[in-house]
């Protein structure tokens, strides 16, 4: 129903949803922008981050350790994947890249099913962040509030890496024109490896941070992958600010449509994507000339 109270609640909820989507989408967009590879395994990275964190949490009982472990593990996995698999597909047509990343995602999901079973696993909310916060216009779970902050910090860290370091400059140059960067004598190989690692790391970090909210199951990656792609399309491929903007827009579309009728939340999201594709195919903040 449309009331002022519900509007402000859903607006805020959209911010929370959007922050998470922005984080995952930024990983995907820099991978696609730099490497040109459509990483269908990105959802699996999200899921694996959650499970890596879960396993660490079971072993140590510390949520911070779980987050750190998930981030590092996924960063390493991303680098390994790039070296062992993805690297051989840069010259191949897009369909081959889609197939190999899709295949990887299936392999990861089944590995997780085999090792952890298909049951839903719960990750406990860290004790400090349990409970409900009274925000005046609504009651909100404290942990979800914290996730907004955590995602904002992570996005800021990504921003600093991309815009304030030499590596970030090279990555951004690579997004614009990888061949030129190569001709300038910069080791594009290594850059690609690091970018894939960073992208996977962002997804893994989001995976464990989101786990206390929605529980872990082997298929959480699939659901998030579709939404992430929509965000990247809306925001513009290869654009980090685009991913953030797209994420926030997507989060708000889902939440505000839910105010009227939750069944149409995803319909509206895809309608928005279709609109962007029709009117501005490169995305809201995408660079001209990219497909």
């Amino acid at each position: 129903m449309i009331t002022w109270a519900n509007f402000s609640s859903q607006l805020f909820n959209g911010l929370a949803l959007g922050a998470l989507l922005a984080l995952i989408a930024s990983g995907l967009t820099i991978i696609y922008g730099t490497l040109g590879v459509l990483n269908l395994a990105h959802g699996a990275m999200f899921m694996l981050g959650g499970y890596a964190g879960y396993a660490t949490y079971q072993a140590t009982g510390s949520f911070v350790a779980a987050v750190a472990a998930a981030t590092i593990a996924l960063g390493v996995l991303g680098i390994v994947l790039e070296r062992v698999v993805i690297r051989y597909f840069y010259a191949r047509p897009h369909e081959d890249q889609l197939l190999v990343t899709f295949g990887l995602s299936i392999v990861f999901v089944e590995l997780v099913r085999w090792y952890f079973s298909s049951d839903t696993k719960t990750v406990q909310t860290p004790a400090l962040l349990q409970g409900i916060t009274n925000m005046g216009f609504m009651l909100y779970p404290t942990y979800r509030l914290a996730v907004v902050g955590i995602c904002a910090v992570a996005l800021l860290a990504l921003f600093l890496v991309l815009y304030r370091t030499r590596l970030g400059m090279i990555v951004r140059a690579g997004i614009e024109d990888a061949e030129m960067v190569d001709s300038l004598g910069i080791n594009v190989d290594r850059v690609f490896m690091i970018v894939f690692g960073i992208g996977a790391m962002a997804a893994g970090f989001a995976g464990i941070v989101n786990a206390p909210i929605v529980s872990l199951a082997p298929d959480v990656g699939e659901q998030i992958l579709v939404q992430t792609f929509v965000v990247v399309v809306i925001g513009g491929v290869g654009s980090f600010p685009g991913a953030v903007l797209g994420g926030l827009i997507a989060g708000e579309i889902i939440s505000l449509t839910s105010m009227v009728n939750p069944a149409y939340a995803y319909v509206m999201l895809f309608a928005a994507m279709a609109l962007v594709l029709m009117l501005r195919p490169r995305g809201l903040l995408g660079a001209k000339g990219r497909e």
Partner: protein, 212 residues
């Protein structure tokens, strides 16, 4: 009813629906989700401050729900179900089943296990009386309407529409401090005979057709 929030099967994040409910002024939350959806939606309802402020109603006791959401949320909640393990105190067959199950699997059986076992036992009984595995004869054996002792009391198959006439168990959630052991979530308040509760055989236009 102030609002009706429909979530897709398999949804994991119920925040939009729960926000709508929180702002609707509802006093009672009827959760007709199932399985993992029920567990997640109930847990998130608590996180959003809806429970225990609102009264929770679950039409049907979902297996493992109480264990996953915690007794604080199921305390005082009424539900209908097919079986609860504390019926072992009332029916000797139930006691036998619960003890054997617990010995083999390490936890008490829920109604899924009970229904599976009873279905097979009843089929075995029908086959024994028919003297053959040939389905039409077994069907006729079922239709003889023998009254069988089950884990929830006396049951029989209704000839007209092949429905099983069986008692319905009403349970109420126990408070955490009243639980005698880790699995003592529900208290059986009533075993309601099934026959008066059932619709008439022709209520849905059931046409059984030929035996083959």
């Amino acid at each position: 009813m102030v609002t009706n929030q429909v979530s897709p099967l398999g949804a994991t994040d119920f925040s939009s629906y729960l926000t709508n409910i929180a702002n609707s002024g509802a006093e009672i939350l009827v959760n007709v989700n199932w399985g993992r959806d029920a567990v997640l939606s109930t847990q998130q309802a608590k996180q959003f401050g809806l429970l225990p402020k609102m009264k929770l109603v679950i039409p049907y006791q979902i297996p493992f729900l109480a264990k996953n959401v915690g007794a604080e949320l199921t305390e005082g909640v009424y539900a209908a179900t097919d079986f609860w393990w504390t019926l072992e105190d009332k029916f000797p067959l139930a006691k036998m089943f619960v003890e054997d199950f617990r010995k083999k699997y390490g936890y008490n059986p829920e109604w899924g296990a009970e229904n599976a076992y009873m279905s097979f036992a009843m089929w075995a009984d029908a086959v024994e009386h028919a003297g053959t595995f040939y389905p039409p004869d077994v069907i006729k054996s079922y239709e003889a309407g023998r009254k069988l002792q089950s884990m929830v009391g006396e049951v029989h198959v209704r000839k007209e529409d092949h429905q099983l006439v069986r008692p319905v168990i009403i349970v109420r959630g126990k408070a955490p401090q009243a639980m005698r052991n880790k699995e003592d979530f529900w208290e059986v308040t009533e075993v309601v005979p099934g026959a008066p509760l059932m619709q008439k055989p022709d209520a849905f236009g059931c046409q059984l057709g030929d035996y083959t």
